[in-house]
Symmetry: C2
Subunit: 223 residues, 2 copies
C-alpha cells in the first residue's frame, strides 16, 4: 500500500494528462512525454509507476488505454464514488454545479442544509434538512463527505458525520477539525492558498530586487 500523498496526487495528474494525449489521438506514450506534460522528470514517472507495479516497454512506452485503466483501478475510479455535501451556501451550491466531479466519476447523492429556504431549491441535487444526514449516510453506505458549513458549525457537523460512518471529508471550513476516529480530512482553505501564493510572489520580488541591487553594486565597484 503506497501512502505517499504526493505520489498519489501525481497519479491523478498522470491520468488527466493521459486523457488529453488520448483525445489528441495518441495510442502509446513514453514516460518522457508524460513527464513533460505533468512537469516532473521521467525518472519520477517511472519510479511512481514501479511503486504500483506498472511496467512500461522500453521500445514502445505505455499503452495509454491500459495505463488509464490501471490508474483508475488504483484510484478507485472504476466505480462511481458516492458523496454527500453538507452546507449549501455560496460555495456549497457552486460545488453542486461543479461539472468536474461528475467527469471524474464522483456523484453527489444529496446535499444537506439547516436553512429551509435552501431545501428543495434548484441545485440539480436534492437539498435535504440536516436531520436526515445521519440516516442518509447509514442507508446509502456513504463514506465520503464535502463539508461547506460556516466555521462555527464545522466541528459539530463533522463529529455527526463521522459517527454515521463517514471516512473521508473534504473540508472547506477555515478551521482545523479535531479528528478522533481515523477519519481522513483534506482541508481546502482558499484564503490560505492565496495568502501563501502572495508570500511567494513577494519573496520572488524581493529576491529580484536584491539581485538587481547586487548587480548595480557590482557595476559600481567595477567602474
Amino acid at each position: 500500500m503506497v501512502t505517499n500523498k504526493n505520489c498519489v496526487l501525481r497519479l491523478s495528474r498522470y491520468k488527466n494528462a493521459l486523457h488529453r494525449f488520448k483525445s489528441l489521438g495518441f495510442f502509446k506514450i513514453f514516460s518522457s512525454y508524460l513527464a513533460d506534460a505533468v512537469g516532473v522528470t521521467s525518472a519520477q514517472v517511472r519510479k511512481d509507476f514501479s511503486l504500483f507495479n506498472i511496467m512500461g516497454n522500453k521500445r514502445g512506452g505505455y499503452v495509454i488505454e491500459q495505463l488509464i485503466e490501471k490508474l483508475n483501478d488504483i484510484l478507485g475510479k472504476n466505480e462511481v464514488q458516492q458523496v454527500v455535501l453538507v452546507g449549501a451556501g455560496n460555495l456549497g451550491s457552486a460545488l453542486l454545479k461543479y461539472k468536474n466531479f461528475e467527469k471524474e466519476g464522483i456523484k453527489v447523492e444529496a446535499a444537506f442544509d439547516i436553512d429551509p429556504a435552501k431545501q428543495n431549491s434548484k441545485m440539480g441535487v436534492e437539498v435535504l434538512p440536516l436531520e436526515r444526514l445521519v440516516p442518509f449516510i447509514k442507508d446509502h453506505g456513504i463514506r465520503i463527505a464535502i463539508l461547506c458549513v460556516p466555521d462555527i458549525a464545522a466541528q459539530q457537523t463533522f463529529d455527526l458525520m463521522c459517527k454515521a460512518g463517514i471516512k473521508g471529508v473534504l473540508n472547506f471550513s477555515p478551521i482545523e477539525l479535531k479528528v478522533t476516529d481515523g477519519c481522513i480530512v483534506t482541508n481546502v482553505n482558499l484564503a490560505v492558498e492565496l495568502e501563501n501564493m502572495i508570500y511567494f510572489v513577494n519573496a520572488q520580488d524581493k529576491a529580484g530586487q536584491a539581485a538587481l541591487r547586487d548587480n548595480e553594486e557590482g557595476i559600481s565597484a567595477i567602474s
Copy 2:
C-alpha cells in the same frame, strides 16, 4: 528568504489559531498550545518560528498580539492584497461571494468574463468584459489572479495575464498550465483532491480488512 511551502502554510495555520486564542481572551501563549491547536509538535512550532527570527520567552511564551503582527508582516498581510478573478461561472461567482477572502485582507478588485450576460450582474464585484483585463491589471498594478475559466480557455487566459504583469495565479481549471516566465501557480483541483481522499479511504479500509483477516487467522491458528 524561506522557500519551504509547507513551512509557510503552517505560518498561516498558526496565525488562524492565534486569532482563535485571542478571541478566547488569551494574551500570551506557549508553543505547545499552538502546536496542539494546529496538530504539529511544539518543536516544529519553535523551528518554524526560528526560521523567521521569531523568538519566544521560555517562561511566558509568545505575546499573541505581537506574534500575529509578525506573522502578518511575513505573510504580506499588513496591506490589502488586490486580486482579479477571471471567469465568473458557477465556481467563480461563488468565490466572489466568499467571505473568507475579505476577512484575510484579500480584495477582489474586479472580475472578468467573456459572457455579456454575466457582466454587470449582481455579484458584489463588477464583472467586466475580458478585453478590459489587460489594461485593468496594468493600470491597477495587480499581481495576483484567480483563474476560473473552462479548461479549454485556461492556457490562453493565463498567458494573457502573465504578459500584463500577473505574478501569481490560483488556478481552478483542471489543466496543468505551462508556465514560462516565473509566474507562481497554485493549482486547486477539487476533483483531484476528492480522488486522492478516496484512494486513502480505500487504502485504510483494505489495511483494516487485512489486519482483521490476520487477526482471524491468528485466532484460528491458536484455537
